[in-house]
């Protein structure tokens, strides 16, 4: 493998919303490269549909403080409240900044940014849903991703597209270089740099049914673990209640925001029982569990593993009337088919394409889908990656976006808060890394910089053990789905852990057929599988360790939240021999003491 060397001040890894925002700010001040395994506009930020949260108050009274409280409550009080307040108070300003960059938000009749309701976002006085999600039809993420990419083009940011980052190397504890594999040639590239920002998104591919792209395999969290750094709160992974049955393609919560309701086999709007005040717009962990319980108790549609999401205008209007829902001007809430078509064009298209049904005529079959990683690479409020429970910073290393755990989402993320998180903390990361680079010198490059990458890739390329990557991945997904999803038990998790360890063993004997240098995607998928197995182990171990139920982590054998023992973040390390260890970080509480969560 040929090796090329480059030198930069800041290297951004990943070109989704977080990476592009970081790059926009870093490249204003420092020589910056963006390395992405996908062409930037292919990043999964483009899949985000519903909106970005900000208390603009364009349609009704709203305040950043309400947004912050909802986020803390939604996090089941595990989110760090200093970070939450920072994000929610920044929100209006950053949404205006996006608008100034050109994001084509939908508009109110007086020309301002349009907002819709979303789960868990409330008027803190009445407890009723509030219009806080700023949206551009149902492709808000697409618009943000395109806009950020375009502004980077305008600014002349350097992109290395279809380059896979395989390693980060350190010298005396500081970042020295980022190692990448070039898909087009099979060559290795060493990017010597003062600072690196990790912005590689989530890892929903650990599960069978997921809303996440096939490329979301958690490569960089795995790299970080291998380099002896911890991951935080890995037991908290969000299952979004409404994925298209079997396919997992997301049906945005915006559908329920516009008045859609969940219906069981008896034709009941069952969320009444689980969340009497906000009903279908309760937070995601609550709704996903409700669907599981309905299914388990035999009220899935036709006894199957799914329920209906009904957004037909007559259904929407019926329940809106029952709920006494009104428009901002006080008149009763009534929707027409045309309005829904204009607000949810992509959703309607997905249903027609993949299910052959028109949601204006028929209800949509849905089931919970693996959606979002609340846990990830631990950072400070300034996005600096930390190496231990005392917040000791790794000089030169930053992380932002879904890959990071700062932690604003705690045990459960509210919808619209991730698009917000990626731009707010992407911006912080870009600024901080550039500032750091201004004062730092380039660390010496260790002689063995590419060794680990070479070892991994050569072993995969020349493996003769005959194990098939696809089988291993399929078995991993099956066991994660069975035992490490919405409901968990000690027994199930233990079984999952054993299976994952067996799969890791088998992974050492993997063989691939493609030996060529150019566009060897088989090789890279085999490499990604190794990352997923490492993360599956970290998730399962963390889930086994936390003996309580909080947010997305629901232990049937410990069904209560236990603030006395577990109001704390988990850090996990896994060493080369596969031995793990945990440490804990206190939750930062500024204003809101933990209370029982009711919706």
């Amino acid at each position: 493998m040929q090796v090329h060397t480059h030198t930069y001040d800041v290297v951004v890894i990943g070109a989704g919303g977080a990476g592009l925002m970081a790059a926009l700010y870093a490249s204003k001040k420092a020589k910056t490269a963006v390395i992405s395994k996908l062409y930037p506009t292919r990043s999964h930020t483009g899949a985000a549909q519903g909106g970005i949260g900000a208390a603009l108050g364009n349609l009704e009274e709203d305040h950043p403080e309400w947004h912050a409280f909802d986020t803390a409550k939604g996090s089941d009080y595990l989110g760090d409240q200093d970070a939450i307040e920072f994000m929610c108070y920044q929100a209006p300003e950053i949404v205006y900044e996006l608008e100034h960059m050109g994001v084509p938000f939908d508009r109110t009749s007086d020309g301002r940014i349009m907002q819709r309701r979303f789960g868990g976002h409330t008027n803190n006085k009445t407890g009723k849903p509030v219009r806080r999600a700023c949206h551009a039809a149902d492709r808000t993420g697409h618009m943000i991703l395109q806009t950020l990419y375009q502004q980077n083009l305008r600014q002349g940011t350097h992109f290395f597209n279809e380059f896979y980052v395989t390693d980060i190397v350190f010298h005396e504890g500081r970042v020295a270089a980022v190692v990448a594999y070039e898909l087009a040639t099979g060559d290795l590239h060493v990017f010597r740099t003062k600072a690196a920002i990790i912005a590689t998104g989530g890892f929903g591919q650990l599960w069978e049914v997921t809303s996440n792209a096939k490329t979301l395999t958690g490569d960089l969290p795995a790299v970080v673990l291998r380099r002896g750094l911890p991951l935080e709160d890995m037991e908290f992974f969000q299952f979004h209640p409404t994925g298209i049955y079997k396919l997992g393609i997301l049906i945005t919560e915006g559908v329920r925001g516009e008045g859609g309701v969940l219906i069981n086999d008896l034709g009941e709007r069952f969320m009444d029982k689980y969340a009497p005040t906000v009903k279908d717009l309760a937070s995601r962990d609550v709704v996903s569990r409700a669907i599981y319980i309905e299914v388990r108790e035999g009220r899935g549609i036709g006894g199957g593993k799914y329920v209906y999401l009904d957004v037909r205008p007559e259904t929407v209007n019926k329940y809106a009337a029952l709920d006494g829902r009104t428009r901002p001007d006080g008149s009763p809430y009534v929707v027409t088919k045309e309005e829904l078509l204009a607000k949810l064009p992509d959703i309607i298209d997905f249903c027609k394409t993949y299910l052959g049904i028109d949601p204006m005529e028929e209800p949509i079959p849905v089931q919970p889908t693996a959606h979002y990683a609340m846990g990830g690479i631990p950072t400070t409020l300034k996005t600096e990656v930390i190496r231990d429970e005392h917040n000791t910073v790794v000089p030169g290393l930053y992380a932002a976006g879904e890959v990071a755990c700062v932690s604003v989402h705690g045990a459960n993320r509210l919808g619209t808060n991730s698009l917000l998180d990626i731009v707010v903390f992407g911006k912080v990361a870009g600024k901080e890394a550039a500032e750091y680079a201004k004062h730092a010198d380039l660390a010496s490059l260790p002689a063995d910089a590419t060794d680990l990458t070479r070892d991994q890739l050569e072993r995969l390329r020349h493996g003769t053990g005959g194990e098939r990557v696809a089988d291993i991945v399929a078995e991993m997904k099956a066991v994660m789905t069975e035992h490490v999803s919405v409901f968990r038990t000690e027994e199930g998790l233990t079984e999952a852990l054993e299976k994952i360890r067996e799969l890791k063993e088998r992974y050492r004997r993997v063989s691939i057929t493609d030996k060529s240098a150019r566009y060897n995607l088989e090789l890279m998928e085999a490499w990604e599988a190794g990352n997923m197995l490492d993360l599956a182990e970290a998730v399962t171990l963390s889930a086994l360790n936390r003996r309580e139920s909080r947010g997305a982590h629901w232990r049937e054998d410990y069904p209560k939240r236990d603030d006395e023992n577990w109001l704390k973040h988990t850090l996990i390390w896994i060493d080369e021999e596969g031995k793990h260890r945990f440490a804990y970080k206190p939750v930062v509480i500024t204003k809101w003491q933990p209370k029982e969560r009711e919706y």
């Binding site: 506009t41 292919r42 483009g46 608008e99 697409h142 375009q150 098939r468 696809a470 060529s516 088989e522």
Partner: protein
């Protein structure tokens, strides 16, 4: 049901010339063509190479020719294309390996039309105002996912790759008709050049190929009209 999948194969590293491999698969009518490719890659021939990511038609990675028509493999169901399925790379861009083409010439044209928002006035404290009607004016062209299905279905582009092509014009349209943007005149001047809109012969291939159902031919006509009249209504 049984399907026969015939796939274009070419690795310039090792192959003198392209060939077609044939795979016989068991499939469901609702399977995506992408699911079939994934099945081949996982179980029959790991070296089959193609780009893919989101698997539901929003990232633009997997435009290919399926039974002679440009489509996204992840948005094309078996039941819509029948039991004999021929999959080939999109036309007009160099093949790098199997179904992977060199997208750089495509993105180069995209970059030439200044596809970024420009407004040099100091921004207001809050949002710039825009009426719902003004916003609606360019809604259709904001949907583009840069998959290249349109450009590589265009006979003019096949004949001469220097033509900007429909995707670049669509992306210019998105800004030209945005009431907040100030660089319409510059973009129209670029599009009036030799490589620009006047090459379009209104064959409608692009509109038919677009997986996002953008009315591309209409957008191009609007750009032509704006160049001729100097007006943006």
């Amino acid at each position: 049901m049984k399907v026969t999948l015939k796939v274009f194969r070419y690795n310039p590293e090792t192959d003198q010339r392209p060939r077609y491999d044939v795979f016989h698969l068991e499939a469901e009518p609702n399977d995506r063509v992408l699911d079939l490719l994934e099945k081949v890659k996982a179980e029959l021939d790991g070296s089959l190479s193609y780009r893919r990511s989101c698997a539901h038609g929003i990232c633009g990675s997997d435009a290919m020719r399926i039974n002679g028509r440009n489509r996204l493999a992840c948005k094309t169901l078996v039941k819509d294309v029948g039991t004999t399925i021929v999959v080939e790379p999109i036309l007009g861009l160099p093949v790098l390996k199997d179904l992977i083409v060199d997208m750089e010439p495509f993105f180069e044209s995209y970059r030439k039309v200044m596809p970024w928002f420009i407004n040099t006035d100091p921004p207001p404290e809050k949002e710039r105002l825009q009426s719902p009607e003004e916003r609606e004016r360019f809604d259709d062209t904001t949907k583009c996912i840069l998959c290249a299905a349109c450009t590589t279905s265009c006979p003019v582009f096949w004949a001469d790759g220097s033509y900007f092509g429909p995707a670049a014009i669509v992306n210019a349209h998105r800004f030209i008709f945005d009431s907040r943007d100030q660089a319409a005149a510059e973009r129209l001047a670029i599009l009036a050049q030799e490589e620009g809109v006047w090459r379009c012969r209104t064959s409608f291939n692009c509109t038919e190929a677009c997986p996002r159902e953008i009315q591309i031919t209409k957008a191009i006509a609007e750009v032509k009209r704006a160049i001729l009249t100097g007006r943006l209504d």
